[in-house]
Structure formats: C-alpha cells, structure tokens
Symmetry: C2
C-alpha cells in the first residue's frame, strides 16, 4: 500500500519571499496536470485546469515541459484542450522536436524506435542508412523484434549513438503503472556497453531550452 | 567486420603440465559446440562433435554447462543428439533446474517470463499468488505487455525478488545477433531499482553445482 502524500503549506510570508523575482513557471504535464490512459486519453487531476488559468491570469510566463513521446505535440495539445486545459502548441517543450534539432546539427540519420503517433515529428529528417538510434516511449512497439532491430543497428556502428527521449522508469496510466522509455534505454545501454544521451527531462539542456523560449533566466523560474 | 580468432598452441610439454591433476572438464554448448538458430535448430561448429568424442574416450569426466533457457533440457539434448553429439540429459547443467531448487528452498512462487518451451521445467512449482519473478531468454515472449506484467508483479512486492536465468547481453544465431536475457534483467532492475540474482553462468554457485555433479574439486577441473 502506498502512503498518501501530505503537503505542508508555508505561511504567506514565505511564499512571497520565494516568489520575489520569479517571472516564469515551468510545469510538468503527465502525472501533474492529468493522468494519461483510458478512453478519453486521460483524466485531469482535480484543480489543475483552474491552476493553469490562475497562473496565466497572474501575468507569470508559463511553459509546459513534458517527456510525452506517444504523440506529436499537435495531437497532445489537442487532447489537453479537449480535457479543458488552456494550452497551445507553442507553449509546450517536448523531446521529439528537441531531438530533431540535435539530429540536424550533428548530421545524424536515426533508426527510430518510437510510438507510431510521434513519427510525424521526424518527417523531414533523413532516415536512410542510419548512423544512430532514437528511442522514445514506444509502448507496444517495444517488441522483441523491434528492440533487436535497434540493437543490430547500434552494434553495427563504429561509434554507436543512442538518443533517448527521456529516461523515466515508469508512469501511471488510468489502468495501472506502465514501463517508460528509460527501461529500454538501459536495456540497449547494457546490450551494447554504451551510454545513451538523454533528450528530455531531467537533462539540463532540455529545461534550458524551455527557459530560452520564455526569455527568462534560471533564477527567474520556478 | 570481425577479425577471425587466432589460437596459438603451446608445445606438448606445457599441455601435460597444465593437465596434471585434471580429472574433469566443463564445456559450454551454444557458440562453442554449435551455433543455434535456423531450420534444424542450429549447426555444429566444425570439429566439435569429434572433440566431445575424444574427451569422453580419454577417461576425463565431462559436464556440459549451458545458459540455454529456450527449451527444456530434454528437448535441448534431443536436438544436440540429432546434430550428432554424444550427450545425455544427466550430463547437462542448466539454469532452469537450478532455479527450481532455489524456488523450493526459499518458498518462492514465481511469475514466469520465459520461453514457452522451457515452461515444463517449472511444472511442479507453485505459481499461485507470485512473490518473485523468474526471467529467462524469452525471445519473442519479451513483448511490452509481458515485460510490463512482470514489472507490475515486482513493483507490488514488499521485497521484490528477481531471478535471472543468466545475464548474457546477446548471442549469435545463424541469422544474426539476438538480445539475451541480461538485457531484460537490466531493464527490470532499473524499473524497480533492484538487483537481480543471477542463476546460471557466470554465477560461481552454478559452476560449483556442475563440479559437484562430477564429484570433483575446482582445482581438478578445466
């Protein structure tokens, strides 16, 4: 049995001290604003729709930072809007677009092991004769065959490069806990005796790009 | 491209020194006696059928030690006999029977994530209300769903116990390299933040049981 979380609220004086100089907020989405899974694609966590509204009306800058890689940003934001959230695509920092920037910068041609629904994010990336592997939260696409295919690409490279869209262990869906991309990242790391490069939380660079997009400094963010 | 292996043979005097006091031999099977995969289940490595014959006629004790967990020992030995090897079931030390001994000793009831063909080895093991997970080289049974099911059993236990039938990274089949059980062991270790117990090579206890079965001491074995 899991103990329920108990939050203690500091008095108002403490809050105003902590908020002094704060210009923007970075918010997680899955598990914070909503729990994914089920028929409608998930359910909002009570109070979160109102919280987003309040933050926006307060004048603070707001950026949503997610490791969600089971859908394109467009589809993901559509779902959140349908659930009632005040959110647009340009407010979301996600691993797939960040990975595309890296692939282009370093002339990397990926073999993709990702969710079908996120493949469109890589539409304008050259994937012929792959010289790296990109894995995301592929869920049911994490078959033995698909993992073995990714492994064979990596083990055949002189300098195997593995980009992992996040390194989470598991996440909660409405019907229970599900294995996340980090588990399969570790699997390929062990198979090839290599270290993956993580694109997404908790990589510093990923948070930094969210701040850059808000045009604020780290000390001005919460 | 892989470099071909070059063996240098010491002169006879060296060999007789090294063999002084040696009473028994432990031989690997997959990748040493034969390469698995393909239509007939594999092909003998040139010279290996004759080598087994010579060792047996020399009067040395012989034990085959394998991490093969894609079949019961019976089926595995049948295949090796069909390929031409002089081998019987009682000469083979394999992880599944070793795991069964551990399960019984410690009153563990396993959730199995193994190859269909090795399930009969666990026929007389109580598997109701599992309090541990046993993984073997499950190959295509390593689906996302099956790995997630094993994960959910482990994460729900107060003291998660994971027995892994080997810890290999990959092995060679006639049609290429295949991911081995160790890769999925690492995946579950990371998911649950635990350490697996390895049953099979290279665990010392596993080799020890092969020697016990030959009734010889470690310094008498090669």
């Amino acid at each position: 049995m899991q103990a329920s979380r108990v939050y203690s609220f500091p008095v108002m004086a403490d809050w105003s001290k902590r908020l002094a100089g704060i210009k923007g907020l970075v918010l997680d989405i899955s598990g914070v604003l909503y729990d994914s899974g089920g028929e409608g694609g998930g359910v909002p966590i009570p109070g979160s729709i109102e919280a987003v509204k309040k933050i926006k009306s307060s004048g603070l800058k707001l950026r949503f930072c997610t490791n969600e890689t089971q859908a394109t940003r467009d589809k993901f934001v559509e779902k959140l809007q349908r659930l009632g959230f005040d959110i647009v695509v340009d407010e979301v920092t996600a691993p797939a677009p960040a990975a595309c920037r890296i692939l282009k910068e370093r002339n990397l041609r990926p073999h993709l092991l990702v969710h079908d629904d996120v493949i469109p994010e890589f539409a304008d990336i050259n994937k012929a004769d792959p010289n790296c592997v990109v894995i995301g939260d592929a869920a049911d696409n994490f078959s033995y065959k698909n993992l073995n295919d990714a492994f064979q690409v990596l083990i055949g490279l002189e300098n195997p490069v593995l980009l992992s869209l996040g390194k989470g262990r598991y996440y909660k869906e409405t019907d229970g806990l599900k294995l996340d991309v980090g588990v399969y990242m570790k699997a390929l790391e062990y198979a090839c005796d290599i270290q993956a490069e993580v694109v997404g939380k908790p990589a510093k660079m990923f948070f930094q790009s969210a701040l850059t997009e808000m045009d604020i400094e780290p000390h001005q963010a919460l």
